[in-house]
Amino acid sequence: MRLPPFQTLIDRHGREVHRYLAACVGPIDADDCWQDTMLAALRAYPGLRDDRNLRGWLLRIAARKVLDSHRATRRRPVPVADVPERGADSPPPPDPALWRAVRRLPEKQRAAVTLRFAADLDYAAIGDVIDCSEAAARQNVRAGLAGVRREWVR
């Protein structure tokens, strides 16, 4: 199988992965998570047996790094400092408070909502990343949105 040069993956999907990570772990930790994601991907890349969905593959690795990051910061208070200034290349999620509510959702719902709205994946692709069916992915997004709405109206 012919895999494209790894740099091509970064050029095509690097920003999208970063956007997803920023939505999941916040803009401060996103840079480190991005490095860890790409390094893990580069490590595994030559052994990859299926090149049909490289974007989904990268996002799946990113989702695992998000889990690691949440485990590592679980006992730390959630940072509520101002979002640092960023260039136009990677706009932060439009409403930081809203995304903080997303980050308080249960793991699968959070992943599903972020993949849907920060990475713009369809439900089949979300299921692929978080390892569930398309229907379950749809259900997780719906439940996640309901959770955010509940928190949001308070």
Binding site: R2, L3, P4, P5, F6, Q7, T8, I10, G14, R15, H18, A22, A30, D31, W34, Q35, M38, L39, L42, R43, Y45, P46, R86, G87, D89, S90
Partner: protein, 187 residues
């Protein structure tokens, strides 16, 4: 600020030993060149005429798909090329990774790499130096498909009688390089 820090990624990948092919671009007097290296040494140089995507795909297929743009890994050869193009360097000390050449092609290119700055050989002489005096056409082929032009100086090989022969970077470029090395170029 670009949130994507390639420098840091390349640094960590190299440290871990998983940066198999690093590449960068160099500004040459006749256009941009691509240079690529493995941890063993310089493995590929390419003129503007070859599309970057094609060269990178070739490296991905033939060496490893772990290909990253990592200019810092090529600082040595980039500096040597700059000096060469300015007429301040007559030989390259950067190590060469010969893995894209084998058999007679390898022998011909290794023989080519020993032709000194400012001198020229014929394809016939090159074939002889590579151990097969009859293989003049194959020697021409080894030069035409030289994966490391400039550093492996295939521009120093001419037709018997002095005609330029061919050149991957174009005949203009071959003439420019020969003028540079003969001191006829006003820099």
């Amino acid at each position: 600020m670009n949130p994507i820090d390639m420098t840091e990624l390349a640094r960590r990948a190299a440290e871990e030993g998983i940066l198999d092919v690093a590449y960068a671009t160099v500004d040459a007097p006749f256009g941009r060149m691509l240079v690529a290296a493995t941890p063993q040494g310089l493995v590929r140089t390419a003129f503007d005429k070859e599309r970057t995507d094609d060269v990178l795909s070739e490296l991905s297929d033939r060496i490893s798909p772990r290909v990253l743009e990592a200019p810092a890994r090529l600082d040595g050869v980039r500096r040597e090329l700059d000096e060469y193009f300015e007429g301040r360097r007559t030989e390259f000390s950067t190590p060469i990774d010969w893995r894209l050449s084998r058999g007679f092609l390898l022998r011909a290119r290794e023989a080519c790499a020993t032709i000194p700055y400012g001198q020229v050989r014929t394809y016939k002489e090159l074939a002889t130096a590579a151990g097969s005096p009859e293989a003049v056409r194959a020697a021409g082929n080894a030069m035409a498909k030289n994966p490391i032009p400039i550093v492996v100086p295939c521009h120093r090989v001419l037709r018997t009688g002095g005609a330029l022969g061919g050149y991957g970077g174009g005949l203009e470029c071959k003439r420019w390089l020969l003028d540079l090395e003969s001191g006829h170029l006003r820099l």
